[in-house]
C-alpha cells in the first residue's frame, strides 16, 4: 500500500518535500537505509500477518466438537523466535551505526559554512566567512558540501529540507550542525519541524543550489550595500519613511545608517529573494502591501506590528515603502 501511495502521489503531481526523492548524498543515504529496512520489515509483515490469516482460516471452529489439544508451549520454538529476530536486528544495526557516524562526520573538501539562527517564525542565514547575512533562503553551490550551524534566539525549532538532508534541531543555548550537499542546481523547499508556537506552520525556507559561478555572483551582489533609489522617486519617499520610522528598530538595511535592528530579517537585498515572511508569501506588491498593513492578520502571532493599526502608517506611506522594498535587489 505504501508503494501504491507513493505511485499515486507521483502521478498526482509534485512533492517538493519528498524524502524518498533525494537530491543530494545525505538524503540519498537516508533514503537507501530506509528502503533496506522497509523491505526487511515488509518481509516480516507478510510472514507474520500471513501466519495470522492462515491460522484464522485453518483453525476456525468447524464443529461442535471443539476439543483442541491443550498445548502449553514449545521451548525450542520459543528460543528460536527470540534469537532469530535479535540476529536480524543485529544485522540491521551494522549499516545503521555506520551511517550514523558517516553523517556526523565533517565532509571532506572545501566545506561552506553557514550559520542559521531560528526565530519565531523566520530563519536568519549568515555566511561567516563571506561576510553576508540574509533571511529565509540558503544559497549553496551545487556539488559542494555545506555545514549548517544551527542555534535559536528563542524556542526550539528544527531545520528540515527533506530532499537534501533530514532535520536537526535549533536549540537555544547550543549549536548543532547538519551537513548537506545539493547534487544539482535547483530549489529545494524546507520547513520548521519542531512545534514552536502559533505560526510553526508558517516558518518555511528555501535552499537554492546554483552553479558555482552563479553562486559567486550571488555572493558578490549580496555583499554590496543596499540600492539607493533615485531622489524624488516613490522609492526614495519610501526610504524616507523607512529610515525615520519604527522599521529600523527591528530591521537592518546595510547602507541605511539608522537601520541596524536584528529583531526581524535583514532586508538589504529583500527583492532578490522570491518569497518573504518565512518563505510563505511570494514577494510581490500585493503581498507586501497586505503584510505592511497588518502582518499579524495574515500570519498568526507575527511579531511585526500592524502598519495601519499599531504604527500609524497611512496607505500612501505603505505604498511608498513597498516600492522601496521592491527596489532592494
Amino acid at each position: 500500500m505504501v508503494i501504491l501511495g507513493l505511485l499515486l502521489a507521483a502521478c498526482t503531481g509534485q512533492l517538493p518535500y519528498n524524502s524518498l526523492d533525494p537530491a543530494g548524498p545525505v538524503a540519498r543515504k537516508q533514503a537507501d537505509l530506509y528502503w533496506l529496512v522497509f523491505w526487511i520489515a515488509a518481509g516480516v509483515f507478510v510472514l507474520v500477518e500471513g501466519l495470522l490469516v492462515y491460522a484464522m482460516i485453518r483453525f476456525r471452529r468447524r464443529s461442535a466438537d471443539d476439543t483442541p489439544r491443550q498445548i502449553h508451549g514449545n521451548t525450542r520454538l520459543e528460543i528460536m523466535w527470540t534469537i532469530l529476530p535479535a540476529l536480524l536486528l543485529a544485522g540491521v544495526a551494522v549499516p545503521t551505526v555506520g551511517t550514523i557516524f558517516d553523517l556526523a562526520t565533517r565532509p571532506e573538501g572545501e566545506v561552506l559554512e553557514v550559520n542559521v539562527t531560528g526565530n519565531q517564525w523566520w530563519w536568519e542565514v549568515e555566511y561567516p566567512d563571506l561576510g553576508l547575512i540574509t533571511a529565509n533562503e540558503v544559497h549553496v553551490p551545487a556539488g559542494r558540501p555545506v555545514a549548517i550551524n544551527l542555534t535559536s534566539r528563542d524556542v526550539i525549532h528544527s531545520f528540515s529540507v527533506p530532499r537534501l538532508a533530514g532535520k536537526q534541531d535549533l536549540v537555544p543555548g547550543r549549536t548543532n550542525t547538519i551537513y548537506m550537499e545539493a547534487a544539482r542546481p535547483g530549489t529545494y523547499l524546507g520547513l520548521c519541524k519542531e512545534y514552536c508556537g502559533l505560526s510553526h506552520a508558517n516558518m518555511r525556507f528555501r535552499v537554492i543550489a546554483q552553479e558555482p559561478t552563479e553562486f559567486d555572483e550571488w555572493v558578490e551582489a549580496q555583499r554590496e550595500e543596499a540600492a539607493v533609489p533615485p531622489s524624488g522617486s516613490l522609492e526614495a519617499e519610501g526610504l524616507e519613511y523607512f529610515s525615520t520610522g519604527q522599521c529600523i528598530g527591528c530591521h537592518t538595511v546595510r547602507g541605511v545608517e539608522t537601520a541596524v535592528g536584528r529583531v526581524g530579517p535583514d532586508l538589504t537585498h529583500l527583492a532578490a529573494r522570491g518569497t518573504f515572511a518565512g518563505a510563505i508569501f511570494d514577494l510581490n506588491e500585493e503581498n507586501l502591501t497586505r503584510w505592511l498593513e497588518d502582518a499579524p492578520a495574515v500570519k498568526p502571532g507575527a511579531k511585526m506590528p500592524s502598519g495601519l493599526r499599531d504604527m500609524g502608517l497611512t496607505e500612501d506611506q505603505i505604498e511608498a515603502m513597498v516600492a522601496y522594498l521592491l527596489s532592494l535587489e
Binding site: Q70, L89, P172, R174, S199
Partner: protein
C-alpha cells in the same frame, strides 16, 4: 454486647448506604469504582474523539480555515492529553479495578479507600484540565510541552495564554491518582492472592497489571519533578529551562521522555494482558508459552527505561549517544516479538470462535505488528532524521495506541461487560462496530506513513497547496468519520444490551479464569468462599480434565459448585465500609491548583480541605451495626 464508648461527632459516622446516587460518592467497592472509571474514561474518549474530528476537518484540504491557528493548537494539545491521561490510562484502571480481585480470588483490593481516592482525583483532575477551555484557553504547547516554549511566562509572549499552567498543575493532580492506584495494585497482587495462587499461576492480565503498576510507581515521580520545574518557571519566574539564565533547554526533554517512554508501555501492557486472556478463551487452548509472555512483559518494563532519547535523536546528542539509544530501541522489539509469536502459537491448533472479543484481539495483533515494525524503522537514526516530527510518527503511535491499546480495550469490554452487567452485548452490532472501526482506522492512519515520508510535519494547523499532501489528507478525514460511526454503533449496542441483552450467566464464554466462576454481576463480596487454587487457569481445570492426547474432557458438574452455593446468600461476610473522606481529600487538590493560578489564599484552603479529608480518613471508625 455493646461497650460503653466515647460518643464521636456525627461527622465521623461512616455512611452505610450501598444503593442510591449518594452511595456512588462514598463507595469503596472495587467493582463500582471500576464502573466509575470506565464510564468517566469513555466520556473523555468521546471528547477526545470530537477533538480529533475537528483536527481532521481543518486538515481535510490545504490552507483550511475551519480552525484558526490558536484554536488548532489547543485542540491538538488536548486531544493528546485526553487520549493518554484521561482515556487509555483510566480505561486500563477500570479493568484493573474491576478484575484484579476477581482474578486472584480476593474480596477487594488492599486499600479500598485509597482506591476511591485515586478515582476522585482522576475525575477532578480531568475537570480541572478541561475547565481551562473556559478560563482563558486550554493548554496549547502540545501534550509533550517542550520548554522553553512552554516554560516562558505568559508575559514573555512566546506562547499565548495561561493554558500551559493548567497543563503543569493538571497533570500533577492526575499523577497523584496514578501513584495511589499503583501502590494499591502492587500490594493487592502481592498480598491478596487466594491460597495456592502462586505468582506463576496468576492470569497474564494480572501480571501485566503488576508490571504496569511498578512502571507507574517509578515513572510518575519523574514527570512530577519536570512539572514542578515547569510550574515554577511559569508561575514564579525560575529559569530551569532558560539557557540565557543558566538553565538548559534540553533538560525538559530528558525528564519528560524518561517518564514518557515507560508511559507508552504503561499504555500498551494492559491491553496486551487483555489479549493474552481473550485469545486462549476463544481458541480453547491455553496461552502458548505463559512464562515467556510474563517474562517478556517484565523485560519490556525494564528495557523501557533505556530508550528515552530515541525521542531526541535530532536534538544534537551526538553519534555515540544516538547509537546507544538506536541499539536499545531496536532490541526492545525482541520481547515484543516474543509476545506476538506466542499469541500466534495460542491460536495455532486451536478451535477458534470469532466472537466480537476475539475479533478485536485479532485486530490488535494485526495492527500492532504494523505499529511495531514502523517503530523499529524509527530506531534507524539516519532515517529517523527524515521521520521525526512528521506524520510518519503519528502513523506509528496511532497504530500501537489505537490499533493496539484501544482495540485491546474494546476486546476486553466485549469480553467482560457481560460479567459486569449480567447481559450479553449483541453480536451482530459488535461485528459491525469491529469492521467499521478496522476500515475507518486504516483509512485514517495508513496514508500518514507516506505523507510523513513526503515531508508533512506534525502540529501544523495548515499546509500549503504546493506540498501535494491534499488528496491523502482528505482520505484520512473520511476515515476518521467512519471511526466515529463505529463508536456510535458500540454505544447503541451498550444501551440496548443493558435492558434487552441475553442473560449472561456466570461463564458465557466457557473461559479459563476465576472471575467466570462467580455470578454475573458478582455479589458485593465476590466469592462465597475464598477459592483454593491448584492450577494456572484454575476454572478450566475444574471444568475439564485432559485425555491421553491432551484434549479436554468435561468434568461432571465441575463448575456448578460456585453458582449453587451463591444462591444461599452470605450475609455475614464483612466488606469494607463506604466513606466520604476519599472524596473530600481529593477535592482539595484542584482547589490548591486554582489558587496557584488565580488567588493564592485559596491554595491554603485547598490544602486544609485535603488535610481534613486525610485526618477523617485516618480517624473514622468502622461503621456501627
Amino acid at each position: 454486647m455493646a461497650i460503653a464508648a466515647v460518643p464521636r461527632p456525627s461527622l465521623f459516622r461512616r455512611p452505610r448506604a450501598t444503593t442510591g446516587l449518594a452511595s456512588w460518592f462514598t463507595t469503596v467497592d472495587h467493582k463500582r469504582i471500576g464502573i466509575l472509571y470506565g464510564v468517566t474514561a469513555f466520556i473523555f474518549f468521546l471528547l477526545g474523539g470530537i477533538e480529533a474530528l475537528l483536527l481532521r476537518v481543518q486538515l481535510a484540504g490545504p490552507e483550511g480555515t475551519f480552525l484558526d491557528a490558536d484554536t488548532y493548537n489547543q485542540v491538538f494539545t488536548m486531544h493528546g492529553l485526553t487520549m493518554i491521561f484521561l482515556v487509555v490510562m483510566p480505561l486500563s484502571s477500570a479493568f484493573f479495578n474491576y478484575l484484579i480481585p476477581l482474578q486472584i480470588g480476593a474480596r477487594d483490593v488492599a486499600f479500598p479507600r485509597l482506591n476511591a481516592f485515586s478515582y476522585w482525583v482522576f475525575v477532578l483532575g480531568g475537570i480541572f484540565l478541561y475547565s481551562s477551555f473556559f478560563l482563558g484557553g486550554a493548554p496549547n504547547g502540545g501534550w509533550f510541552g517542550y520548554a522553553p516554549l512552554s516554560s516562558a511566562q505568559p508575559e514573555v509572549g512566546l506562547l499565548p495564554g495561561t493554558g500551559m499552567t493548567f497543563y503543569a498543575l493538571g497533570l500533577q493532580i492526575l499523577g497523584v491518582a496514578s501513584l495511589a492506584s499503583a501502590v494499591n495494585f502492587i500490594v493487592t497482587i502481592l498480598n491478596e492472592r487466594a491460597p495456592g495462587m502462586s505468582l506463576m499461576r496468576v492470569p497474564v492480565f494480572t501480571w501485566m497489571t503488576l508490571v504496569v503498576s511498578f512502571l507507574l510507581l517509578f515513572a510518575m515521580p519523574v514527570i512530577a519533578i519536570a512539572l514542578f520545574e515547569l510550574g515554577f518557571d511559569r508561575l514564579f519566574g525560575t529559569v530551569f529551562f532558560s539557557p540565557d539564565a543558566g538553565g538548559d533547554a534540553l533538560l525538559w526533554q530528558h525528564l519528560f521522555w524518561l517518564f514518557g517512554h515507560p508511559e507508552v508501555y504503561i499504555l500498551i501492557l494492559p491491553a496486551m494482558g487483555i489479549v493474552s486472556e481473550v485469545l486462549p478463551a476463544f481458541s480453547r487452548k491455553p496461552l502458548f508459552g505463559y512464562a515467556a509472555v510474563v517474562f517478556s512483559g517484565i523485560a519490556i518494563g525494564f528495557m523501557g527505561w533505556g530508550v528515552w532519547a530515541h525521542h531526541m535523536f535530532t536534538t544534537g546528542l551526538g553519534p555515540v549517544a544516538n547509537t546507544a539509544f538506536a541499539l536499545s530501541t531496536m532490541f526492545i522489539a525482541v520481547p515484543t516479538g516474543v509476545k506476538i509469536f506466542n499469541w500466534l502459537g495460542t491460536m495455532w491448533g486451536g478451535s477458534i470462535r470469532f466472537a466480537t472479543p476475539m475479533l478485536f484481539s485479532i485486530g490488535f495483533v494485526a495492527m500492532f505488528i504494523i505499529g511495531g515494525l514502523s517503530g523499529v524503522t524509527h530506531a534507524i537514526v539516519p532515517s529517523d532524521f527524515q521521520q521525526q516530527d512528521t506524520y510518519y510518527i503519528v502513523a506509528h503511535f496511532h497504530y500501537v495506541l489505537f490499533g493496539g491499546a484501544i482495540f485491546g480495550l474494546f476486546s476486553g469490554a466485549y469480553y467482560w461487560l457481560p460479567k459486569v452487567t449480567g447481559r450479553m452485548l449483541d453480536e451482530g452490532l459488535g461485528k459491525i462496530h469491529f469492521w467499521l472501526m478496522l476500515i475507518g482506522f486504516n483509512l485514517t492512519f495508513l496514508p500518514m506513513h507516506w505523507l510523513g515520508l513526503q515531508g508533512m510535519p506534525r502540529r501544523y494547523y495548515t499546509y500549503p497547496e504546493e506540498a501535494g499532501w491534499g488528496f491523502w489528507n482528505f482520505v484520512e478525514t473520511v476515515g476518521s468519520f467512519i471511526i466515529a460511526a463505529s463508536i456510535l454503533v458500540f454505544m447503541i449496542n451498550l444501551v440496548w444490551s443493558l435492558s434487552r441483552g441475553r442473560e449472561a450467566g456466570a461463564d458465557p464464554w466457557d473461559a479459563r479464569t476465576l472471575e467466570w466462576s462467580i455470578p454475573s454481576p458478582p455479589p458485593h463480596y465476590n466469592f462465597d468462599e475464598v477459592p483454593v487454587v491448584r492450577h494456572r487457569d484454575e476454572l478450566w481445570h475444574r471444568k475439564y480434565a485432559e485425555d491421553e492426547r491432551g484434549r479436554p474432557v468435561p468434568v461432571v458438574a465441575g463448575a456448578a459448585e460456585e453458582e449453587h452455593a451463591a444462591e444461599e446468600g452470605h450475609h455475614d461476610i464483612h466488606m469494607p465500609d463506604p466513606s466520604y473522606f476519599p472524596f473530600l481529600a481529593a477535592l482539595g487538590l484542584p482547589v490548591i491548583m486554582y489558587g496557584l493560578i488565580y488567588f493564592w489564599p485559596a491554595s491554603i484552603v485547598g490544602a486544609l480541605i485535603t488535610m481534613a479529608g486525610l485526618f477523617g480518613w485516618s480517624l473514622e471508625p468502622v461503621a456501627e451495626d
